[in-house]
């Protein structure tokens, strides 16, 4: 296990170096000029050129590239070219806000998806199963922003049960914070919930037929326990290993959700930075996101190893 961890950490570092380098060049390949973004609409070409120089955008790529890594290794994520703020000043809290949304949505979709998947599997080919399959298709088919908009319209405007509030930090007012969390989390969870339902159903249909489930029944275990401890537990293995892919999908979807609900997360920071070609911020956010994804993949692989004792040996 330790060897596995060491090796995977080594790979993770290589991956991050790769991500950092790719994003450095990718960001600069996008047409558009950060100097233009910093100066607004009415600036003349001459002003833009001067500002470009002030932003060191005229310097050779290679120098900028090496400088980026040199600073990064000193723990300096850089400073926004547009707002002049140090990236470190904003990034941690924004990542925190995004992760809160994403992890909660993941938790919700795991819990709901597994419960529904279990119901669908134990009632396979009965009306409840068909309804759940159709329902999950519904969740998969509707674009995130439509779900978000509809929820806003219904629960905030028409029947103001959960009006969007000013963003309140959980430390100041946990109740208000929870209230503003509900709609974005539900929006985000809708699609992945459907995917997890389908996956759980498929996996459980397999395990329900497994010999060891029959063994568990033969032992005299109560049916509930047979399903929970024996059928469901092993069915979780494929679900867990797909959950990591699902998490990255969720991180991707937060762009829309954060925009719609005005959630101050990492994605909106990133979208702003992309819109302004604020290279240091883009680089920092993408690196942060990549770190999360790579870590999550690692944790996922570890989880499978822990949950499935067989995995270690092959």
């Amino acid at each position: 296990m330790r060897r596995f961890l060491v090796r995977r950490f080594g790979q993770a570092i290589v991956q991050l170096l790769l991500v950092g380098s790719i994003v450095f060049f990718l960001a600069r390949l996008i047409p558009g000029d950060p100097a233009r973004a910093a100066l607004g609409d009415a600036a003349t070409e001459e002003q833009v050129a001067l500002t470009r120089a002030a932003m060191h955008l005229d310097e050779p790529f290679l120098g900028q590239f090496l400088g980026f890594w040199a600073r990064l290794f000193q723990g300096d994520l850089g400073t926004s070219m547009i707002s002049g703020r140090a990236v470190m000043q904003d990034l941690p809290s924004r990542i925190g806000n995004s992760l809160e949304l994403v992890l909660l949505a993941l938790a919700v979709s795991l819990v709901v998806g597994i419960v529904l998947g279990r119901i669908a599997a134990t009632r396979a080919d009965k009306p409840a199963d068909h309804a759940l399959v159709a329902g999950s298709i519904f969740g998969i088919s509707l674009p995130v922003f439509v779900v978000g908009t509809l929820l806003l319209l219904v629960f905030a405007v028409l029947f103001p049960i959960l009006p969007p509030r000013r963003f309140t930090s959980p430390w100041e007012d946990p109740v208000a914070h929870l209230q503003i969390l509900i709609l974005p989390v539900v929006t985000l969870a809708a699609a992945s919930c459907a995917v997890i339902t389908r996956m759980t159903r498929a996996a459980m249909l397999e395990t329900l037929n497994a010999d060891y489930v029959r063994t568990a029944r033969a032992k005299g275990l109560a049916e509930k326990r047979v399903i929970r401890r024996h059928a469901l537990r092993t069915a979780m293995l494929p679900v867990v290993s797909m959950t990591t892919v699902e998490l990255t999908t969720l991180i991707g979807s937060t762009v829309l959700v954060e925009t719609i609900f005005g959630w101050p997360g990492m994605s909106s920071l990133l979208m702003n930075a992309v819109g302004q070609r604020d290279y240091p911020v883009i680089q920092a956010v993408v690196l942060a996101a990549a770190t999360i994804v790579i870590l999550v993949n690692l944790v996922g692989d570890l989880a499978v190893r822990v949950l499935d004792p067989r995995a270690e040996d092959n």
């Binding site: 790719i22 994003v23 996008i30 674009p143 439509v146 389908r198 290993s241 999360i292």
Partner: protein
């Protein structure tokens, strides 16, 4: 697949299997399953509509045919005064075209990578699978914006972007499946015969990992329709006035309270297509698997 004529099959002596549906030709078996055939018929209809879209649409999708946001035409008039039905038909064509080709791109590349990584193993799989992780770790929208911004917002590029973004889904699934199949004795039997590795992958392993691929394909089409919609939401999908179901949903959002049908019609169409694809995909998975032959008649 060698299929014997039915008469021969029935003339056979006592068989150990009771799978008597097993001898029917593929197509007949498909028709025998009501859910699969209804879904298949619907998809066929959709494809015909998509292919013949310009001929079927009652109006040019760009023409002003009435007062904006009224209920003229069959399904109403949109905010630019255009016929909603005609735009739905053309939008269907756009969305299906983009989504299906994107998923095919992703499927072909992703499956190939997964097959190679799983079969060859060792450093090859490390490189492929860690590369896939790198791909996964880019926020999809960033990758999309960057690539589309560099290549331009043409639909082909959108197909490429979505295709590349969806590669990991296929690679991961295929990889884990191949790992469990590559040591099966029938694979070893192929090796001993001297079958080339490429043939073993394509003809022996691929068909046996096809079930999850088919499910993933049908699921991914829905994600791709959405992704295109998401990209249009960010101004990167189909370029106006060309509609796609996604852009129509996005545009309909603004008129949710004025004329909700602008949002409802394309949404319902997406749901129907995805539902049909999934039902059909599940049905195909069972039909293609000889072990499921004759199960549900």
């Amino acid at each position: 697949m060698a299929t014997a004529p039915e008469s021969v099959a029935q003339a056979l002596p006592d068989t150990p299997s009771r799978a008597n549906g097993g001898r029917k030709p593929f197509f007949k078996r498909m028709l025998a399953n009501r859910r699969t055939s209804v879904a298949g018929a619907f998809l066929l209809l959709i494809v015909v509509v998509a292919v013949l879209a310009p001929l079927i649409a009652p109006h040019d999708y760009r023409d002003i045919v009435g007062k904006p946001l009224t209920s003229g035409g069959t399904l109403g008039i949109d905010d630019f005064g255009r016929d909603v039905l005609s735009r739905l038909i053309i939008g269907l064509r756009t969305s299906l075209g983009v989504a299906v080709s994107a998923v095919l791109v992703a499927g072909v590349i992703g499956v190939a990578l997964g097959l190679v990584a799983g079969y060859v193993g060792r450093w090859v799989s490390t490189i492929i699978m860690r590369g896939i992780d790198v791909l996964l770790s880019f926020p999809p929208i960033v990758l999309a914006i960057a690539v589309v911004a560099i290549l331009g917002p043409a639909l082909v590029n959108v197909v490429l972007v979505i295709g590349v973004l969806y590669i990991p889904r296929f690679t991961r699934i295929v990889y884990s499946q191949v790992l469990s199949i590559r040591s099966m004795e029938y694979v070893e039997a192929s090796k001993i015969m001297g079958t080339r590795p490429a043939d073993i992958l394509a003809k022996t392993i691929l068909p046996n990992v096809s079930a999850p691929i088919i499910v993933q394909l049908s699921l991914s089409v829905s994600f791709a329709i959405q992704m295109e919609a998401g990209l249009s939401f960010l101004g990167l999908g189909a370029q106006p006035p060309l509609p796609s179901l996604g852009t129509m949903v996005g545009a309909g959002r603004d008129f949710l309270e004025v004329q909700p049908t602008l949002l409802i019609y394309p949404s319902v169409l997406i749901i129907l297509v995805v539902l049909a694809l999934n039902v059909f995909g599940d049905g195909m998975r069972d039909l293609l698997d000889p072990r499921h032959r004759g199960k549900n008649s």
